[in-house]
């Protein structure tokens, strides 16, 4: 016991000078200053978070309020009978869908006149109110020729202006008479709404459908491009994950430390920062012009995005391999495992959550990319509906979600602008799902030391 020899601790200062207050209860100036600085810093931090949250809320509110109208649509719901003769006659014309539209408009006019609607209207009024029903009608009767001659209930999308009137975008005050819609037409719209012929329903077509022409916003849907994005993500996943993981295992565990591997490492980090449009140009030159792959195909989109995602995956995989404690490797090697056994049986499973998180984040980044798709022909009017098989899913022209949103945002009719916001909501839901998956996987497999 040596500590008994130590002098007892006293509160006196050794020099004997007038002692400053050392009480823990009375705070001296310096401490006060430091505490104030800390408080200020905390306030700055809270302020920064508040600003971030504010912008997040503004963004979320504006996306949701602008995008909600895309999920509802105004329909004209009527019983409509098409006779065999009318069907044959319409099929005999060049512009068949227009012929069906004419027949439908005339039938509706007849119905309304018979029911004695009190506001004046004519054929043109009805034409302006109904959108482009021809395609739907033709498709239905081609698939169900036995229904010819009997009344069938249709819910046909109304024109974009009427849709805007129903959701508040177009009002009597702010609208201008045009050949798309007259103010007077709104009287008939009001009457038809009262009687239940015009109503607002959930727009399933927006979620399941394909793109439509610029004069038919009611028929536009994002479904086909969701499928396009999905196939692209498959390509990215099945190429980027094995290539990326193999490359990082080699670099991290096997590669000798020399100039060459240093160079490779630096270049991988640099590649991660290359703007995505560069990969688009590369994709156009290599995959389409040199390798003769089909244009506008999700396969090519996926290949381009793979190039873009690879560095992200390699960097995150290497980080998670590094995070596995060396003792695990040493223990495996110590009991006689080969280097490869040590890595594949012990290191890799432990690094898996990190690798998966990195991969999913890389995929999410690729999912939102538009610029490279611009160059390989996936942006524009690509209304092909659903692919009819797995192979055609990869090689048939298709669009992708961000490309579809970009296309809609550039169209003249404001209804498409709403669709673009609605598309953003769908894209965000897709992204959130992927991120939640990443969190779940990480939680599930994470191991702490």
């Amino acid at each position: 016991m040596t500590d008994t020899t130590l002098s007892p601790i006293t509160s006196e200062t050794p020099s004997g000078a007038p002692a400053k207050s050392k009480s823990l209860y009375a705070i001296d100036d310096l401490t006060r200053k430091r505490n104030a600085a800390e408080k200020r810093f905390k306030a700055y931090g809270i302020g920064a978070i508040a600003i971030g949250l504010f912008f997040l809320v503004v963004l979320a509110v504006s996306i949701i309020s602008e995008g909600i109208p895309a999920f509802t649509k105004t329909v004209v719901s009527v019983d409509f009978t098409l006779t065999q003769e009318q069907f044959d006659e319409a099929e005999g014309t060049l512009f068949k869908t227009k012929a069906y539209e004419g027949i439908f408009v005339n039938a509706l006019q007849g119905q309304l006149e018979a029911s004695g609607v009190s506001v004046p209207f004519d054929n043109a009024t009805i034409e302006r109110i109904v959108g482009k029903p021809g395609g739907t009608i033709r498709e239905f009767f081609q698939a169900n020729p036995d229904k010819l001659g009997e009344p069938v209930q249709f819910e046909l999308a109304a024109s974009s202006r009427v849709d805007g009137y129903m959701n508040g975008r177009v009002t009597r005050e702010n609208m201008t008479d045009s050949r798309f819609l007259m103010k007077a037409d709104l009287d008939l719209v009001d009457k038809l709404t009262e009687s239940g012929i015009i109503k607002t329903v959930f727009n399933w077509n927006f979620i399941t459908g394909a793109d439509s022409g610029v004069d038919n916003p009611g028929g536009a849907g994002i479904g086909a491009s969701v499928v396009g994005s999905f196939f692209m993500m498959l390509v990215v996943l099945f190429l980027a994950l094995p290539i990326g993981v193999a490359a990082s295992i080699y670099l991290e565990e096997f590669a000798p430390q020399n100039k060459l591997t240093d160079l490779i490492e630096v270049n991988i980090s640099n590649l991660a920062a290359v703007p995505s449009i560069v990969f688009g140009i590369l994709g156009l030159a290599v995959f389409i012009q040199f390798m003769h792959l089909p244009q506008s195909a999700p396969l090519v989109g996926g290949l381009v995005l793979t190039l873009m995602t690879l560095p992200t995956i390699i960097i995150s995989t290497r980080a998670s391999l590094k995070a596995v404690p060396p003792s695990i490797r040493d223990a495996a090697l110590g009991v006689g495992a080969s280097k490869m056994q040590a890595i594949f049986h012990h290191v890799l499973p432990l690094a898996m959550p990190g690798i998966l998180t990195g991969t999913i984040i890389g995929l999410a980044q690729a999912l939102g990319e538009t610029a490279p798709l611009l160059l390989i022909g996936m942006v524009g009017f690509v209304a092909r509906g659903y692919p009819d098989g797995v192979v055609s899913g990869f090689v048939d022209p298709n669009s992708a979600m961000p490309a579809q949103i970009y296309t809609w945002a550039a169209r003249a009719d404001y209804a498409f602008y709403e669709k673009a916001w609605g598309g953003i909501i769908v894209l965000l839901v897709f992204l959130l799902t992927m991120n939640i998956l990443a969190v779940i996987l990480r939680r599930r497999f994470e191991r702490r030391w």
């Binding site: 201008t176 022409g213 244009q295 022909g377 524009g380 092909r384």
Partner: protein, 345 residues
């Protein structure tokens, strides 16, 4: 070297997927080009898919020049079949095409598009507009008191008392747009000649060609902004700039009448009727170009072209006119030339 085998194995896998794709013949028409023609092409493509047994064509945008450049890359399934253009193909482009093997090109004129000037709905009204005014407002060098000087004007009313007394702020199509060429040719050049600036430039010793080039120079002091994006971008700029005036296509303006106020040209408001009759002066033909070598190889190509210019589609009662295209009065001649697959000389 495990890594190398792995890499080569993957490369092989990529290559094999690649050739599965390449082996598949293309069954749809592939179109690219002018963003002005894109709306019409998308209407036709949708109707073509709905009304025939051919798949819906794929239509990309990107501008007339970009589209024609891709068109001239060569012949084959991995090149586009049709290029949309809001101007005529240039000699230079025809030559580039020929060098790449695209020798037989069919030119199809689909109709006319009006170019309109419009301001915010609540903004100033430009009712006494002439090409001269646009030239005076936007030209790099203008004629003031008989002399050619750098554009000194800040305000529309400074050179034409009938115009609103507001600052000049114009949003015009960027140089990659076909619309820009028409704007230069039908507005700036005309205004230059009418104000006498062209003559003054020639008198001051410039050659005629140089003077004509100087006429279409746009001032670079920030009063005029080039818009390289779509009309929606121009609309957004007008929305945030109460005194701004923008250049739009007729169809775009008609679809956005609730937000825009159109400027009349010499008292004539643009509409399909006034453009067809020639009263409204600023219009231009729209075209698409077909590779003849692809007809018969790509299914539905000729049918697409014929469908596009059929009376039911491109005629005065068709959906294109409904959207804002001014129908070609000589549509029958265009139909005949497509039928006969007449190529350009």
């Amino acid at each position: 070297m495990k890594f190398t085998t792995l890499v080569s194995a993957t490369a092989l896998a990529v290559a094999s997927t690649a050739f599965v794709g390449a082996a598949q013949a293309r069954d749809q028409v592939q179109v690219a080009g002018s963003s002005t023609v894109l709306p019409y092409a998308s209407i036709v493509a949708e109707a073509f898919g709905e009304n025939t047994d051919f798949p819906t064509p794929v239509v990309e945008s990107g501008g007339s020049s970009a589209g024609l450049k891709r068109f001239c890359e060569g012949v084959g399934e991995n090149t586009i079949d049709v290029a949309n253009a809001s101007r005529k193909i240039r000699e230079k482009e025809i030559k580039a095409c020929a060098e790449a093997g695209v020798k037989d090109i069919i030119e199809v004129r689909i109709g006319y598009d009006g170019i309109v000037f419009a301001s915010q709905k609540d903004g100033p009204a430009f009712t006494a507009f002439q090409p001269e005014d646009v030239f005076n407002a936007l030209g790099a060098k203008v004629l003031v008191d008989g002399k050619i000087v750098d554009n000194p004007y800040n305000n529309w009313a400074e050179f034409n008392a009938d115009l609103p007394d507001v600052g000049i702020a114009a949003f015009i199509p960027g140089t990659k747009h076909g619309t820009r060429e028409v704007f230069e040719e039908k507005v700036l050049a005309v205004g230059c000649e009418k104000t006498g600036a062209l003559q003054a430039m020639i008198d001051s010793g410039m050659s005629e060609d140089d003077a004509e080039d100087a006429c279409i120079d746009v001032r670079a002091d920030g009063k005029s902004t080039d818009i390289d994006g779509d009309y929606t971008e121009t609309l957004a700029r007008i929305d945030s700039n109460p005194n701004g005036i923008g250049v739009f296509g007729l169809a775009f303006y008609e679809n956005n009448q609730d937000k825009l106020k159109v400027a009349t040209m010499g008292g004539i408001a643009p509409s399909t009727a006034t453009i067809a009759s020639g009263e409204y002066p600023v219009s231009r033909p729209l075209y698409f170009y077909i590779k003849k070598a692809h007809i018969g190889v790509i299914p539905g190509l000729k049918e697409y072209a014929q469908f596009f210019i059929a009376d039911e589609i491109a005629g005065p009662q068709g959906p294109l006119a409904q959207y804002g295209l001014v129908s070609d009065p000589e549509l029958a001649a265009v139909q005949a030339s497509v039928e006969a697959e007449e190529t350009m000389k």
